[in-house]
Subunit: 376 residues, 2 copies
Amino acid sequence: MSAEPRLLGDGAALQIRLAGRDLRFHAMWLRDNAPDAATRSPANGQRLITLLDIPANTRIAEASWQEGALAVRFEPEDRRIVFDPGWLLAHAYDRPAPPTPGWTGEAVRRWDAESAAEVAVENYDAIRSDKAALMRWLATVRRYGFARLTGVPARDGMVCEVASLFGYVRETNYGRAFDVRAEVNPSNLAYTNIGLQAHTDNPYRDPVPGLQLLACLRNSVAGGGSIVVDGFKVAERLREESRRGFELLSGRCARFDYSGTKGVRLRSKRPLIELGPDGELIAVRFNNRSAAAFTDIPYHEMADYYAAYRRMAELVEEPSLSFRFQLAEGDLFIVDNLRVLHARDSFTGSGERWLQGCYADKDGLLSTLAALEEES
Amino acid sequence: MSAEPRLLGDGAALQIRLAGRDLRFHAMWLRDNAPDAATRSPANGQRLITLLDIPANTRIAEASWQEGALAVRFEPEDRRIVFDPGWLLAHAYDRPAPPTPGWTGEAVRRWDAESAAEVAVENYDAIRSDKAALMRWLATVRRYGFARLTGVPARDGMVCEVASLFGYVRETNYGRAFDVRAEVNPSNLAYTNIGLQAHTDNPYRDPVPGLQLLACLRNSVAGGGSIVVDGFKVAERLREESRRGFELLSGRCARFDYSGTKGVRLRSKRPLIELGPDGELIAVRFNNRSAAAFTDIPYHEMADYYAAYRRMAELVEEPSLSFRFQLAEGDLFIVDNLRVLHARDSFTGSGERWLQGCYADKDGLLSTLAALEEES
């Protein structure tokens, strides 16, 4: 076994060696994360105590390796807790600071026009009946923020059926599902035959629906091709070109609104590029149609902000970053709507183009995927 | 009329005087926000052009007041656009920087045990039939993050009916609606008779449901009282006491998870106190039961982080910040689940306690409220 644990600061923390790394853990953190049945419900995993149930002066009185596990005795409770070294290694927080703002985790792979070809296409019957196929498809969404499906029955409501394979439809004022076809008096420019610049959907909502599914029920028009763009790749390119531009688009809020329907006045205030507090890239919002007047950028930064916004728009239209494909009856695609932009070419009035879409949330998809991975 | 507009930087911007303030606007911002029918669809308000349709070298060639409106001619497009001065004033961005981190807008009023008594109670029949009453009730939610309702028929599914008055139910793995009553093998500690520390619901989701509604269908137990706490008030108190503690809880991510049900592995990584990029306080998450191991706080900050987390937990339990009430059959309450924590006292096994809850999103509520306010 490894060397014995070393107490630090009179038991305020300890240091152990695991997988060749020296790792420190605080007494309070260990006590709060104790896995024993009095701290965590063995049935549902929920914590049974509050932080205030743990004495503020908690310290480690003793620590040792026992049968490969870390045994810790806490004072003043005089409570002995055993920690699994694998769990400790997986949850170690004694490590270097995160990289530069705009980083993403290992689960995310950015793509461009060329590498988007890696994104495998799955079949509806397969993902419906075979857990391995479903897992593969969901993992594609997690990795690329985009995935395709063929063989979806071209029927009203099927798009929601697909969503129900991994999560729950997010109903909105557009309904549970919504039809995207040319209309005479459209409440939204999507319901016309004009081309739509690549965009994320509904940035005027807060929270934005994290997933959009679009199924093709009919397509006999000329044009109307589909395009997707990895917004995380766009953000990365922007940061490489101009750190200042990236800081402005991530550090200042944009505004969006939608008032196209009676009784609906949706408004949001969020950045075009959203970072977590630790600089992780967590979302991209981009939509020329619903962008409202930006009023949260100081006057002296506005010119530079607009220059960066323009550069972002150029990157969004950059052919080397766009993946194009044609939707046929029975095809469906899903995008991570906080990451991947979608667009369509204009189309002519002859023939019919009928897509049906729905929204869902990413947490449900990731939860289903994690559960499948655990089972397999 | 006011003095004539003054061009700045060779037409890169202009300055006007409105309501006693000197306000500057950039040429690009004005052009992008032009209200004319070629820029914005008169039918649905959506922008018809992309930023790339506007020349990068756009400047103001001339500007003058004409019949009370600001007439601007842009070069190189040679396009003349007229702006409403009221609109310009409402969207002016030439103003001082936002205040210290943790600020909230005018729509939000923080409350404590005493001032929570201001929160009026409405009647279900009234808000269902009278738009003014509905508007009042929704405005209470926007202001206080909490509102109550009486006279809700104590029937299965009514909680979703109430949500449909302003928005859409967010369906989750708990269903569209979920029952909160004591169970023998609970998948969640909520389904027991133990007391629950004040918490926000489902911080392990991302996005977190922005609203929770809880309706009381039966209550004949002893105990089980309801408590709400304004998390924005808690955050303010914490900031007043310790700027450093506030910075840690807002500047570092916590983690949450839930695995109590087969096939469900929900995980999130978000701060306990969430600020927008401009320091606006936008969310509070707090839940001892589903807090996972926090692994995104550097080792040298963890002790101070835990001290601030403990202080937050103390404030959450501070009686002067808690509003207590008893739910009777036909009562319902709603909380802004990104702001207001709710708790319940333990109760005894004699008698029956049956609540039914559902989730919804805040954007739908705020949209309905804004539309009602516009109509009235």
